[in-house]
Structures are given as structure tokens and as C-alpha cells.
């Protein structure tokens, strides 16, 4: 199933309730070399989302913050955005451009249509330099209530 750019934007912009940031940072659930926490929220239009935070045990710069949409009637989740740390490079396969440092993945119709994963496109960012900064940036960018932002230092 391919989500159009319009559908992706609407899901990102759908107002979402504040999240308990303390429940996410630091991640606590042991997961085979990394730690993870997640919360599920329902947007005002009834869409269900998961915000998943992961951090590598052996490298605090290796983290990810993923906002995913739960596709109704399926166990599939559609990753709308993923904010990554600086542990690895990324190459945008369609453009052939290589990024280093902190980067944010975003779902695009273009990459889905070309047969790639929905969030295979990424852009470099200087909007965060830490896991909590990456979460804060996600909350700002994806329609979460302001109450859930600025609850911790970047």
C-alpha cells in the first residue's frame, strides 16, 4: 500500500495529544543491545500513532526517534518520520546523495512508488544533537500538543 504525499502530510499534521516525556527518556526496555520506550497516541481524526525511542547501549550518539502510523486492519506500521543520531552515514538512493551526521528520515510517496521503504529519504539536520533534542524536534514537527514540548533540555 502506498500513502500519497497528501495523506502523509495530513497524518503528520493531525493534532496529537501531549505525551509524557518522562516515560520516554531515558529508554528503559532492554532490547538486544539497545533500549527502547514507546507511547501510543490517537490523533483528533482517530488515527493511531506510535512514538518509539531507541538508544544504543554502547553508543549514546546512536539513537532513533520514530513516529509511525498504525494502518487500520493490519499489523503493519507506516513510518512517517525517523530522527537518527550521528553514528552512521545515509545515502538517498534516488538522488545518490550521501549524508553524514544527524539526519531525519521522512516518508515520501516518491520513494514508495520507486519500490523503496517509505522513509528511505533523509535530510541532514542541525535541529538536534541528542536523543532528547530529537524527540523535541519530532513533537514540534508532528502536531503534538505544545504541553509535551520543552519539558526537558536539549
Amino acid at each position: 500500500m502506498i500513502l500519497t504525499g497528501t495523506a502523509i502530510n495530513r497524518l503528520l499534521e493531525e493534532p496529537k495529544p501531549a505525551v509524557q516525556v518522562a516515560a520516554l527518556v531515558p529508554p528503559t526496555r532492554e532490547k538486544r543491545g539497545h533500549r527502547e520506550n514507546q507511547v501510543q497516541v490517537t490523533g483528533t481524526q482517530g488515527s493511531n500513532f506510535r512514538l518509539v525511542v531507541r538508544e544504543l547501549v554502547r553508543d549514546p550518539l546512536d539513537f532513533s526517534v520514530t513516529l509511525a502510523y498504525e494502518i487500520p486492519g493490519s499489523t503493519r506500521i507506516f513510518r512517517l518520520r525517523r530522527h537518527n543520531g550521528a553514528s552512521h552515514s545515509h545515502t538517498n538512493k534516488l538522488e545518490g546523495t550521501r549524508l553524514t551526521g544527524f539526519h531525519g528520515h521522512m516518508a515520501t510517496e516518491r520513494y514508495q512508488t520507486a519500490g523503496f521503504k517509505e522513509e528511505a529519504y533523509a535530510e541532514s539536520t542541525d535541529a538536534y544533537e541528542s536523543l532528547s533534542g530529537a524527540i523535541e524536534r519530532m513533537l514540534e514537527a508532528a502536531g503534538f500538543e505544545a504541553q509535551s514540548q520543552g519539558s526537558f533540555g536539549v
Binding site: A7, R10, G33, R54, R58, D62, G73, R82, S87, K117
Partner: protein, 260 residues
């Protein structure tokens, strides 16, 4: 670049055709960047750790399992077929796992070859994501009805039949909105059969002289037979290629057709 870094770089470059970059992160550890990628374009994490003398080890620090967790619950790797495939992939490459960290022992005179073997093992582990089974529960029709019932309360007539012309119920409409003055027929289309029935139904309503504005909502249009979709396209006024994630757009469109 330190002497150690330069030495490592030269050894790896000769094996990998100058496509590596080496950065020291501590006295004993270097980050080695290669062009090798996961399927989403993220590059593998490969670090070289000096042990003693000419002994080294490659490590991913645990990144590969974390990357895999984007698409697969790594707890499912503990047993069953996935666990077996994982174990075989690691055994083939002599890669050890230490609480999620993947490690390959390497000699100083085989850094290039061992890096390739290590990277291949990481990619095999990452390929376990393709064993993800998306258990699609067919709730499409249920969701279709829920969306329309909630958006058009009292005006959504499901499984509508024109009893005057069709007493045997051969030509059902999934949902008829606003019977007068301008009825809107909405067809739920989860299968090729449903598409074909909708096509025949719309043609039959025309034969009866009943003028409906018609809309088709596919569960997943791409999966449907092309000829069936083409025939349906000839008789329907508007189509939506999928429902899930598209609900609000569909409702807004139908409200517009109803003059709301």
C-alpha cells in the same frame, strides 16, 4: 591522521578500492565508514577495535539489531525460524553476538577480507526484516461502514437494494447516501468480484433509469485486476484507490457531493 589510522586506512583501501574512511574514536577503536548500506540507505556501522598485538575485532556496537527493530520486533528472534536463520548467518561468518553486539575476530593481515565478511553477515542479519509477516486482518468492509456511519448518521443505508426493480437483491449498493434528491452510491471494493458486481450494478441502475452519483472505494486498487478496474472506471464517477489513511479525504469529498 595518526600512524595507526593511516596503516589501517591503507590496508582497508587496498582491499576495498579506496572506498573507506577511517576516524579514530579512541586509542583502541576506529570508526570505519564504507559504502555498504541497509535497504533504507543507512550505512552499516562498522568499527575496528584493537585487542593486543596484531589482533583486532570488528564490531557493530549493536546497531544492526537496533536497525532491524524498525521493522521487526527483535524479541521474535529468540526462537523459531527467525532464530535459526540468524544463528546460521552468524555461524557462517564466524560472527559472535555479545548481548546484541555483533563481533568478528580479525588478524592485522586480513583486515580488508574480514571487513567484507563482517559486512556480509550484518546484511544477512538485516535481511531478517523480510520475514516480517504483516498479518492483514480483513477489516476493510467493517472500517468502510464505520467511517460512513459515523460521518453520515441516519443517511447511510448499507447493502441498499432497489426493491421495486430488484426484489431478489441481485444488485446491491454497499452504501447509499441521501436517497433524495441526489443519491450517492458508494461501493466498497475489497476484491475483483466486488469490482465486477459494482460495475454490473451501476449499469443496471442506468437501465432502470435511476440516476446515481457513484463513488468506489478500493481496499487496495493496485492489487485489483486491471481489466476489472478499467470496466468499473467506465461507469463510475469517482474512485479512491484506498481507504485506510484516506478516510477524511473521502468523507470531505462525499460531503461536497451531498451539497454540505
Amino acid at each position: 591522521m595518526t600512524t595507526d589510522e593511516r596503516e589501517i586506512f591503507e590496508r582497508l583501501s587496498s582491499a576495498l578500492g579506496n572506498q573507506v574512511e577511517v576516524y579514530s574514536v579512541s586509542d583502541r577503536e576506529s570508526r570505519v565508514q564504507t559504502p555498504l548500506q541497509f535497504s533504507d540507505g543507512d550505512h552499516l556501522v562498522t568499527r575496528l577495535r584493537r585487542l593486543d598485538g596484531d589482533r583486532y575485532e570488528w564490531t557493530d556496537l549493536g546497531h544492526t539489531f537496533m536497525h532491524l527493530s524498525y521493522t521487526l520486533d527483535v524479541d521474535t528472534l529468540e526462537s523459531g525460524k527467525r532464530a535459526q536463520i540468524l544463528e546460521e548467518a552468524l555461524d557462517r561468518a564466524d560472527v559472535d553476538e555479545r548481548e546484541g553486539e555483533l563481533v568478528l575476530q580479525a588478524d592485522a593481515d586480513d583486515l580488508g577480507g574480514s571487513l567484507l565478511r563482517f559486512a556480509q553477515a550484518l546484511i544477512h542479519v538485516a535481511d531478517l526484516e523480510y520475514l516480517t509477516q504483516e498479518r492483514v486482518v480483513s477489516t476493510f468492509v467493517e472500517d468502510f461502514r464505520r467511517v460512513l456511519a459515523a460521518s453520515f448518521p441516519g443517511r447511510a443505508h448499507f447493502d441498499y437494494i432497489d426493491e421495486d426493480h430488484d426484489p431478489r437483491g441481485l444488485y446491491p449498493v454497499s452504501c447509499l447516501l441521501n436517497e433524495v434528491p441526489r443519491p450517492v452510491a458508494v461501493f466498497a471494493l475489497p476484491s475483483d468480484d466486488a469490482v465486477n458486481v459494482a460495475t454490473i450494478t451501476l449499469q443496471q441502475f442506468r437501465n432502470w433509469g435511476r440516476h446515481l452519483f457513484s463513488t468506489g472505494v478500493f481496499e487496495e486498487q493496485e492489487q485489483r485486476n486491471r481489466k476489472a478496474v478499467a470496466r468499473f472506471s467506465d461507469v463510475v464517477d469517482k474512485q479512491f484507490s484506498f481507504l485506510h489513511g484516506n478516510e477524511q479525504e473521502i468523507v470531505t469529498y462525499l460531503q461536497g457531493q451531498l451539497g454540505e
